[in-house]
């Protein structure tokens, strides 16, 4: 382990980025789903910075209850404050906390990295919302209401503005679901927020094409008609999803695990889906081209959904790194394309890009 660490250090030489740390994460029995996502989040620099800032501001009360947010913040802080530049860290407390919090992740079974990411982000948001609420209640001099996790303060009839936490600011985007009744032509738009986009995939396609399909117009008819409020009846309609507010961090989940009805189980789709290092979203409502740059990929290794392994690729200071639990190595940018998938169903290459992390480049423009 130490050897691989120094190897990475040697490979980077004097190009080793100032202040950066590259640490592998120990596996506690099938926790690669967790490790791969943690690496992607750690190298999501705005997220990391805000988490560390949070940690710095909330360090004081030692009696404060441990939760996923504090555990994650502690882990990130532990990595970033290491004396050595490379090495291995055991995310023990964080993994224990995850297992305590959610029985799904308690066993030692293979877990889905996307489900874990979803769970984690939602938990973080919950914690931040509760804290913010508790803080508000405190400042509103209602000391009887102490944040103990069970408070349900917004049940007092007052319409509560949804809180925008820094987790939201990083990951949240807004989709708008436009439905046009084919009888009265009325367009009903319904907004929904998202932390990631789950895309259906096709063999030998690109992310661009999958995004296009995601936003393509779908006709609701036959069994699947739309209840039009204006017509007050079920009508044929056209539906399409557009991105109303592109997120700062665009997380794309490729639906590689598909339920096969005739098999009665999930199957892994090894399809070759190419993802560019730069991407633009053109399916936005504003018709503005929102540009993104790829900075992390969570890769599923294996041929089936119930077993296998997760690794991650991250881009840090213009270098690409490959993280496989404890191990970290530098890879060439061109190696990213070995994780696209297979053009043939049966292939020896089972390392497939599963969750893609893109960061918006728009911040510098506006």
């Amino acid at each position: 382990m130490g050897a691989t660490g120094s190897k990475l250090e040697k490979a980077l030489g004097d190009q080793f980025p100032e202040g950066e740390r590259y640490f592998g994460l120990e596996n506690f029995g099938n926790t690669c789903y967790c490790n791969s996502v943690l690496q992607a989040l750690y190298f999501c620099v705005p997220f990391r910075e805000q988490l560390l800032e949070y940690y710095a501001n909330n360090k004081s009360p030692p009696e404060a209850e441990e939760n996923l947010l504090t555990c994650l913040a502690e882990l990130f802080s532990q990595i970033s404050s290491q004396k050595k530049k490379t090495g291995v860290i055991a995310p023990r407390r964080f993994v224990q906390r995850v297992r305590k919090q959610n029985e799904l992740f308690r066993g030692y079974m293979h877990q889905d990295a996307h489900e874990f990411l979803n769970f984690l982000l939602n938990e973080l948001v919950d914690i931040l919302e509760k804290e913010s609420h508790a803080a508000k209640n405190l400042t509103a001099s209602s000391p009887e209401k102490i944040a103990n996790g069970s408070c349900n303060g917004h049940a007092n009839g007052v319409k509560k503005e949804p809180l925008v936490t820094w987790v939201h600011k990083n990951f949240q985007g807004i989709l708008t679901n436009e439905t046009r009744c084919l009888r009265c032509e009325t367009v009903t738009a319904r907004d929904e927020t998202f932390f990631d986009l789950s895309l259906d995939i096709e063999q030998n396609s690109s992310i661009t094409s999958c995004l296009k399909n995601f936003s393509s117009t779908e006709t609701l008819n036959a069994e699947d008609k739309f209840f039009c409020d204006k017509c007050c009846s079920l009508q044929e309609a056209q539906k399409r999803m557009k991105i109303k507010k592109p997120p700062h961090i665009l997380v794309i989940h490729l639906k590689r695990f598909k339920y096969m009805e005739q098999l009665g189980r999930y199957k892994k789709l090894s399809y070759r889906v190419v993802f560019p290092l730069e991407l633009k979203l053109s399916n936005t409502t504003e018709n503005t081209d929102c540009e993104y740059s790829l900075f992390a990929v969570v890769v599923h290794v294996g041929s089936g959904p119930n077993h296998g392994h997760y690794v991650s690729l991250v881009k840090s200071h213009n270098h690409w790194l490959f993280f496989d639990d404890e191990n970290a190595e530098i890879i060439d940018e061109s190696a990213v394309q070995t994780f696209f998938g297979s053009a043939q169903e049966y292939s020896s290459n089972t390392d497939h890009g599963y969750i893609l992390f893109y960061e918006s480049l728009a911040a510098s423009k506006s």
Partner: protein, 492 residues
Amino acid sequence: MMNSGVILAHLKDKPVQAQPQSSSSFGVSSGVRSAAARFLGGNGSKTLSFVGGNGGSKSISGMSGRVGSFGVSSSSSSVGNSNFDGKGTYLVFNVGDAIFISDLNSRDKDPIKSIHFSNSNPVCHAFDPDAKEGHDLLIGLNSGDVYSVSLRQQLQDIGKKLIGAQHYNKDGAVNNSRCTSIAWVPNSDGAFVVAHADGNFYVYDKSKDGSADPSFPVIKDQTQFSVSHARYSKNPIARWHICQGSINSIVISNDGAYIATVGRDGYLRVFDYKNEQLICGGKSYYGALLCCAWSMDGKYILTGGEDDLVQVWSMEERKVVAWGEGHNSWVSGVAFDSYWSAPNSDGTDENVVYRFGSVGQDTQLLLWDLEMDEIAVPMRRPPGGSPTFSTGSQSSHWDNACPVGTLQPAPSMRDIPKISPLVTHRVHTEPLSGLIFTHESVLSVCREGHIKIWMRPGFGESQSGNSDSSLSTSLKEKPSISGKAFSSSYKQ
């Protein structure tokens, strides 16, 4: 897992016309025009005929296998014959560590020659049909090494090694990054260019010594274009530093005046070869550009890349004039159909239609028409308001063409007219790497090294009376819809 096998498997090839005599038969006949019109008509889901293979039924289902594609392993039939005069048209392609040569006009199309490389894999090659004497075939390797040879000499030899080769950039002495693209400079008496994965291309002169002069100055600023010349008129004679990241393709206009490159940074760049100056260029919509091609008259450049678009660049306007939307994945090969002319064209320059094709990692072959008056209309609207990328003066903003020597930023989706393909056809099961138009057919190549030859409809029909049954066409076209029926669409 981390090796670059995927990259090596990419196949780039060039048809070769070994004899000037044979190329004289490549004129455009009126028969081909009408044939191609029918080929391109229809709804795009029709059955295309397939030339080649070992005879027998040519049903569409047979094409999913390897029937008729050039087997990689079938190198056993190497024919060596010192009396072999080499007349004919050949396909030169690389798979793995070898270059294969097939006779395009033979029935089985099995490679008649394979040349194996022991140190590194060949990754690109080029043929000069106008070479009066000496070396006409260039081969670039993964190691950066470059060879020039005589194709005929290779065909006359029975061995599996390159013979009579001039070896340049030996063991990567000048540049040890991968060769990515190689091209002869037309009308230059044996000059050629070799592009590398590190953003440089080198100019060589085949009449000069191959021994390397590795003393090019260090590139101070990787982001700046610069040209350095060798001191002692040795090969390579010049280094052009183009960009950061790989140059993915280099192509030269038919008159040898302009060099176009595309690369990892997503830019198309066009240079004046003689004056060593950047003329114009622009950024893709997003992502790297992977391929490019000149029109025969040098007025247009096609590019394809990771934004799934086929881009048409106008040399006159120095900007993108159309985006072809139709691929579901990256565009890996583009080519103008130089044998095509519009069915009703009367030879005037008005309303010229260009036909071109593209192949992609979606395994599809697409054919397109570019009709200038239809493209021009939407382009008359005022520019999208984004300032020019670099030095452009205030006035350049309003000019129709951007000033010489500047690069255009990525256009906005709404500012570029879109065109749709005439024909979309899934031609392989593997991602494609290139296509070639010949007089009577369209060739598609996939990255695994399989080549398929698609007959232009009608061509086979006219010959089927006196030739093999495999040449007969199974095309079911709708003659009422001609290629002309297509028009470019302009989306909001």
